[in-house]
């Protein structure tokens, strides 16, 4: 399963730059990134090449962070590509907490990260329907 790093970030000037600077300093490569924000705080979610090292570095620097399991799914880059996946999950009564897409510069398919409430169940379901669910290693090496 793909490990995503989630970091609590207060809405303060320069705070995001501090985090990304920290990753740069330790040579950690950001593969995907998304930020959910509210009036007071935000949650930064990211995929990196070495999540175990990264979480150590981030916590060491005084951030509150945790690791969350997410699914990385290859979705055909055609109209309805994502809809098909969401239909499958909805039929199986699996709700999606959030999703965001990979930062990619080439390729004919989109890579989407899913946070669902029943990760393993969702993975089995999607695999059984021939959806390309990427392994953790595949994602970290992208």
């Amino acid at each position: 399963m793909v490990k995503q790093i989630s970091v609590f970030i207060e809405n303060r000037k320069g705070r995001l730059a501090e985090l990304t600077g920290l990753l740069r300093q330790h040579g950690i490569d950001l593969k995907a990134l998304s930020i959910a924000d509210t009036t007071n705080f935000g949650i930064l979610r990211c995929i990196v090449d070495d999540p175990d090292q990264a979480i150590g570095v981030i916590r060491e620097a005084g951030f509150t962070a945790n690791l969350t399991e997410v699914l990385a799914i290859e979705v055909p880059d055609v109209p309805g590509g994502l809809a098909g996946i969401l239909d499958l999950l909805a039929e199986a009564d699996i709700s999606v907490e959030y999703l965001y897409s990979f930062v990619r510069t080439h390729g004919k398919s989109a890579l989407i990260l899913f946070r669902v409430e029943a990760t393993e169940k969702a993975r089995q379901l999607l695999l059984s329907r021939d959806v390309n669910v990427l392994t953790a290693q595949q994602v970290y090496e992208l």
Binding site: S6, R15, A36, T38, F41, I43, G62, F63, A65, R115
Partner: protein, 432 residues
């Protein structure tokens, strides 16, 4: 005006005699009926008969709020429960409140003290008195209520909150005297301005304000905005409730009802009794209370005693306006709040060592409370909804325990200022 001239203006030597007599009776009662005091006296080899005058009071042990909690709920009571007709409670530093019980006679005494307070503030029997202190376990509402009834005024027990209704009742009932916290009085003045009511068109003439510290500057503001005479009232539930001390028309200190209480001021560090005029912690012994008499109760309030004669004719000594505390208790909108209460609550949310900060401010004359909580790994969730729910749940829990609405804000770890490794728990921005 003076409600009880015989008592309030009693000769000091006569007053001293009365105090001695009452003190000895009271000590006899607690020795006989309260195991806590009997043990304390025995441990210190104190014989009641050795306490001959009020001067000897210094030999007696102190009582602190913790003693009330240790004897929760009723073990400090000096009479059987069949004699108790009323129970009040105030918040404590941890879960359990401190509980006080009143006999029928205690309620009569309390009503008498509040009658003195209200009459001193300008009340009389042909007057509508609006009580906007909270009614309930808090002593404010009911304390004032009984005093106002005692003098025969027409009491409106509206309790706190709902400002527009408060103003409507003032208009329609012709309220002449208002009782509430001073910050609420200012808030009402603002609400009047908002809804277009001119205080000059009201019948309002007097205000009795207390339950939280306030300055003379605030008094001038209230008097100017509402066009009334504002007087201060002091009390605490452990001793009686409101009416323990009250201002007269000279507004130069609060007369402490010395026929019912013996007041001392001590150095909170050395516990030595300080001479008149010196600032220290107010210590009160109740000498007529039956339900829960207290010996040398440490109020934690900082003030000084002034026994000099007052031009109003009252002989009872005065205490200065109480503007500080010797502990970390905060008074927010009239509610006693200890930082440890917030801490206890956060521990229940899964925080072993919560780092938090209490920020109190006065916004538009009403106290505002913000709690900043550092998000630890234990509290953190990757989902926005959960974190927002957490803020709401903490706020709801604060409201249900303290009766105060608070804004809860999650902040990053180590963002709360620490001094010598300990976080600075309280920032009180209110200017007093």
């Amino acid at each position: 005006m003076i409600w009880n001239r015989a008592r309030e203006c009693m000769d000091r030597p006569q007053l001293g005699q009365l105090q001695t007599e009452r003190l000895r009776n009271m000590l006899g009662s607690v020795y006989k009926n309260v195991p806590f005091y009997r043990e304390k006296f025995q441990q210190r080899d104190i014989e009641i008969c050795d306490i001959r005058t009020t001067e000897d009071i210094g030999h007696l042990p102190f009582t602190v709020k913790q003693d009330l909690r240790d004897n929760y709920p009723f073990d400090m009571f000096a009479v059987p429960m069949s004699e108790i007709v009323r129970i009040h409670a105030s918040s404590g530093t941890t879960g359990k409140p401190s509980v006080v019980g009143y006999t029928q006679k205690d309620i009569a005494t309390w009503s008498e003290l509040m009658a003195r307070t209200l009459v001193s503030a300008g009340a009389h029997r042909n007057m509508v008195v609006q009580v906007a202190f909270g009614y309930g376990l808090f002593t404010g509402g009911l304390g004032v209520h009984y005093g106002a009834e005692r003098i025969g005024a027409s009491v409106v027990p509206v309790s706190g909150g709902n400002s527009k209704r408060q103003i409507m009742l003032m208009q329609d009932f012709g309220t002449e005297l208002l009782c509430c916290t001073p910050s609420y009085a200012l808030y009402l003045a603002e609400t009047m301005a908002e809804v277009g009511v001119d205080p000059g068109d009201l019948n309002l003439k007097y205000g009795v304000f207390g339950a939280e510290p306030w300055t003379n500057a605030m008094r001038r503001e209230i008097e100017a905005k509402l066009g009334i005479r504002a007087t201060d009232i002091y009390g605490l539930s452990e001793i009686m409730g409101p009416g323990v001390a009250y201002e007269c028309e000279f507004k130069n200190g609060l007369h402490i009802a010395e026929d019912h209480f013996i007041a001392e001021v001590i150095d909170p560090e050395t516990l030595e009794v300080l001479p008149a005029g010196e600032k220290g912690e107010l210590v009160i012994t109740t000498i007529t209370k039956e339900g829960i008499p207290l010996v040398r109760y440490r109020t934690r309030d900082i003030t000084a005693l002034d026994p000099s004669p007052c031009p109003c004719g009252r002989t009872h000594a005065r205490i200065g306006k109480v503007l500080g505390r010797t502990d970390d208790m905060l008074i927010i909108r009239g509610v006693n709040v200890f930082p440890s209460q917030i801490e206890t609550l956060l521990v229940e949310f899964g925080e072993l060592e919560p780092h938090y900060q209490i920020i109190v401010d006065r916004v538009g004359n009403l106290d505002s409370l913000e709690i900043r909580v550092e998000v630890s790994d234990a509290l953190f969730s990757d989902e926005v909804r959960r974190l927002e729910d957490l803020q709401k749940l903490i706020a709801r829990e604060i409201h249900s325990r303290l009766g105060l609405s608070a804004r809860v804000k999650l902040v990053e770890p180590r963002t709360i200022e620490r001094s010598e490794g300990k976080a600075k728990r309280v920032i009180d921005k209110r200017v007093l």
